[in-house]
């Protein structure tokens, strides 16, 4: 046996320990490679959403790379910690420091290169599949499988550098101060976990406070609260595992009625040590899973944003003519012909928007003129859009603020008009969007019909709305008039216009693409979290064997053993996931403040699928673990 053979066998015969780490490394390589295939695909490099797609995937590559770096670093350093005794034996037999470094380095490179080969190999096999799904999601025709050398080289070199750097790093991590410490590592009986009541309390306070802040966040407070809440949650979670949880089990242990009942004693006492031992791992799994849940959940909830198109743009096609130039007439005729060509049934109507001069206002800055719409016209817009209209009719000088999007808010502004110094106090917004913000670019008012008759405008613009029952079919109408479904308001342009179908389609393909990217990244994170759990479990297997051997000698039936193991494993698997769920739920409650529609359905679907995946993983591992355990317990 030569030295390289020795290193090789050390890794290959330890495959059980390295399996999860190896597979999730390979999976990271696979996803990285798939993204690279997209980025370097020759058919994908045109069009606007496609440029966005490339940018998005490049960003995803960077995230993947940084995450892989951290993941590999953490995994390798935990592996090294569990091998102290082995290193002790080797050093006893005269392994020099350099040889030890070389061994660790070669082992890491071996696993790393293996992961790269397997990852890219899988990428070549499944590449076509990913390209198909991806193309469908981005909304382009099916992509042929294109073997890109650049993607291959990028992936290979990126990961070789990654593993190389980490291998160099970790050799510095093996600190051998005294051989005697290495040698006795793991043999010392575990000391009673210590907890500080203060830190336990701090953890509870931090978590409750950040949950409260997240749950009560509104649109305005969200941005300010976001970072402190994230920081508080992270610190709180860390102390939750290292302090609070141990503190709680300690309290449980004091309750003899509970603690001394049946197998509870074994479960709770080893749980205490396990929690403390695994605190850091639990913490990592929780945070990584939370990030995965939030990423996928946020993207999934953007589905709602698309439903919101209908809310933000009441008319499928809105056209606002700024003046009466003939070009506007032509445009409207063009739109109508296009609608007819498509055999779309539609209704349309025109309403006048009066711009009236303002003398002063209580607002910080007074607009020169303000657009107003009559209440009847507002009603007409709403009923044509198919909304049930129930708002109370305005009378006299009553006004409503004109809603121009989901996020408009009442400000309680009083406007004094130049004409007769009429004072209009706005302290309520219309329930629905009257005119899209993008079209008028200003505050506005809905006023009573009689007042609308009375006011003399500085100028009047004509708004035309076209309504159809199928939003999607309007996609592409008036392509020469709008850019990506939208012609923004401008002083000089004769008109502004929006086409909901095109906007919807653009948003949808953007959204689908982001979801595609987020799902893959979420999957990588989730699998990495699973790999942490797996490694932890197998690192402790020898200890557990001895532990259960002792217990079975005292007399423990097979069923009881199954029960204890299942309970402990499920704690290991589901405690971090449930905490991550809780974190995510509060994060989504904060996210909800961004949307006017409920995102509950999307979130439930996302969290449920993660839970199902975790259950499958749990049963798989439990089966293998029990089989392994029972091999030694006869």
């Amino acid at each position: 046996m030569t030295f390289p053979q020795f290193v090789y066998r050390n890794v290959v015969r330890n495959k059980r320990t390295y399996a999860a780490y190896f597979l999730s490394s390979a999976f990271s390589v696979l996803i990285f490679f798939v993204y690279a295939l997209f980025i370097f695909h020759p058919d994908i490099k045109q069009g606007v959403t496609k440029t966005a797609a490339i940018q998005l995937m490049t960003a995803a590559e960077v995230i993947m790379y940084v995450f892989s770096f951290l993941f590999v670093l953490y995994s390798v350093s935990t592996f090294l910690k569990s091998r102290k005794r082995e290193f002790g034996i080797l050093m006893m037999h005269g392994m020099t420091r350099n040889q030890l470094n070389l061994m660790v380095f070669l082992e890491n490179m071996l696993i790393g290169i293996g992961a790269i080969v397997v990852g890219i190999g899988l990428g070549l096999i499944t590449g076509k599949l990913f390209l198909m799904i991806g193309a469908k999601m981005i909304g382009i025709g099916p992509l042929r499988f294109y073997f890109s050398e650049k993607a291959l080289l990028l992936t290979t070199f990126a990961f070789i550098i990654l593993f190389f750097c980490i291998s160099l790093f970790t050799t510095a991590l093996v600190r051998v101060n005294k051989l005697i410490d290495l040698f006795q590592a793991g043999e010392k009986p575990k000391t009673e976990p210590k907890v500080s009541p203060f830190l336990s309390l701090l953890s509870a306070v931090l978590l409750i406070a950040s949950y409260y802040l997240a749950a009560t966040a509104t649109l305005q407070t969200l941005i300010i609260r976001m970072l402190p809440v994230i920081a508080m949650t992270i610190v709180g979670t860390y102390f939750f595992y290292t302090q609070l949880s141990v503190f709680i089990t300690k309290l449980l242990q004091k309750n003899r009625g509970l603690f001394w009942r049946k197998t509870n004693m074994i479960t709770i006492s080893s749980l205490r040590y396990r929690l403390k031992d695994n605190a850091r791992m639990f913490f990592m799994v929780t945070i990584v899973s939370t990030v995965a849940f939030c990423a996928v959940g946020t993207l999934a909830s953007m589905n709602v944003m698309n439903r919101q198109v209908k809310q933000d743009f009441p008319a499928e096609i809105s056209y606002l003519a700024n003046d009466d130039q003939p070009v506007n007439q032509q445009n409207l005729v063009q739109i109508e012909t296009e609608l007819k060509e498509r055999k779309l049934e539609y209704t349309s109507h025109q309403i006048p928007i009066k711009y009236i001069a303002v003398a002063s206002s209580t607002d910080r800055f007074t607009p020169k003129e303000i657009p107003v719409v009559s209440f009847s016209d507002y009603e007409k817009i709403m009923t044509s859009a198919g909304n049930a209209f129930k708002e109370k009719r305005l009378a006299g000088k009553e006004v409503l603020g004109m809603r121009t999007g989901s996020f408009s808010n009442p400000e309680g502004v009083t406007y004094t008009l130049k004409q007769d110094h009429i004072k209009l106090r706005q302290n309520k917004m219309s329930k629905n969007t009257v005119l899209p913000m993008q079209l008028i670019f200003s505050e506005g008012l809905v006023i009573s019909d009689e007042l609308f008759e009375k006011v003399t405008p500085e100028n009047t613009k004509i708004y035309t709305g076209f309504y159809t029952s199928d939003l999607k079919k309007t996609s592409g109408i008036g392509e020469n008039l709008v850019e990506h479904g939208m012609k923004f308001y401008s002083d000089k342009g004769p008109y502004s216009m929006s086409v909901s179908g095109t906007i919807y389609e653009n948003q949808m393909s953007m959204y689908k693409m982001m979801l595609f990217v987020a799902l893959l990244i979420g999957a990588v994170f989730f699998i990495a979290a699973g790999s942490f759990l797996y490694f932890r479990l197998y690192a402790d297997l020898d200890y557990d064997r001895r532990h259960y051997l002792t217990i079975t000698k005292v007399g423990l039936t097979n069923q009881e053993l199954n029960k204890i193991v299942t309970r402990q494993l499920s704690l290991l698997f589901f405690v971090p996931i449930l905490v991550a769920f809780l974190h995510s739920v509060f994060a989504f409650m904060a996210l909800q403040s961004l949307f006017s529609l409920s995102i509950a359905k999307e979130i439930v679907i996302v969290l449920a699928s993660f839970l199902i995946a975790q259950f499958i993983y749990f049963f798989l591992i439990r089966f293998r673990y029990l089989r392994n355990l029972k091999k030694t317990l006869v």
């Binding site: 046996m1 030569t2 030295f3 053979q5 020795f6 066998r9 050390n10 015969r13 330890n14 005794r85 082995e86 034996i89 080797l90 050093m91 006893m92 037999h93 005269g94 392994m95 020099t96 420091r97 350099n98 040889q99 005294k178 051989l179 005697i180 040698f183």
Partner: protein, 256 residues
């Protein structure tokens, strides 16, 4: 010529209350000798062995192995010193379970970069001698405790070290396996002229030595020589242990 020479050895464990684990220990071991060290729990046996094994550093005094003092060497030289001059046998065997029996045995040679042919030759010779040549391809979890310890012994002698150090080699074995292991030790000691130092609790194991050194409270207490009759030597050891008044479990291993 003495293989091991221990002069004025002292070890103090620093702490809230400093504890003198070893106090002015002097003794030497000649080439080809097989020496046991006994004493009650906490008397400093293992500390002494760790100092000789270069795992731990003495507070004062000197140790010479084959004329060299390993504690003045730098890190790399210490590693090479262990590799060439010392062989180890432990209570818990300390075999690497990723390797097969034969791979475990040749490990010291592997670290030294010896040629595979040479390794094979030495392996054949050693394993025949120890009677484990039939289990070479097995993994460590497939063999018995006695076989594991003999594998460990093979590993400790394959590179012909100057001194073999054994820490409770029979501590984890039943009486039959203990007997096998001790007879193996005696055989290699006799036939290979290997020098060995063994720390043990077990008077039966100690009765295979040429000489047993007793220590108590970190000081040399006495030493007795074996003479011709192992049976009588065993009785002498038992008497000495009773005299030492160690904790009763030191006397529990009566296996006659």
């Amino acid at each position: 010529m003495s293989i091991l020479e221990v002069r004025h050895l002292e070890k103090i464990y620093e702490g809230k209350v400093a504890h003198k684990a070893l106090d002015n220990i002097n003794f030497s071991i000649e080439k080809g000798e097989f020496v046991g060290i006994m004493g009650p729990s906490g008397s400093g046996k293992t500390t002494l062995l760790n100092l000789i094994a270069t795992i731990d550093r003495p507070t004062a005094g000197e140790i010479f192995i084959n004329g060299k003092n390993p504690h003045v060497l730098n890190r790399k030289e210490t590693a090479l010193f262990r590799r060439h001059e010392l062989g180890f046998v432990f209570q818990h065997f300390n075999l690497l379970d990723t390797l097969t029996v034969e791979e475990n045995i040749v490990l010291p040679l592997t670290l030294d970069g010896e040629s595979v042919k040479e390794m094979d030759k030495k392996l054949q010779y050693v394993t025949k001698k120890l009677g484990i040549d039939s289990i070479l391809k097995k993994r460590t979890y497939e063999i018995s405790g006695g076989q594991m310890q003999r594998t460990a012994i093979a590993r400790s002698i394959i590179h012909s070290p100057s001194l073999i150090l054994a820490d409770e080699p029979t501590g984890n074995l039943d009486s039959k396996a203990s007997k096998d292991v001790m007879e193996t030790f005696t055989a290699i000691n006799k036939e290979e002229k290997a020098t060995a130092l063994m720390v043990t609790h077990d008077p039966f194991a100690a009765s295979y030595c040429h000489r047993v050194i007793f220590i108590k409270d970190g000081k040399l207490y006495n030493e007795i020589y074996r003479g011709e009759n192992r049976q009588a030597f065993f009785q002498k050891i038992m008497d000495m242990l009773a005299l030492l008044g160690g904790e009763s479990r030191d006397l529990s291993a009566v296996r006659l």
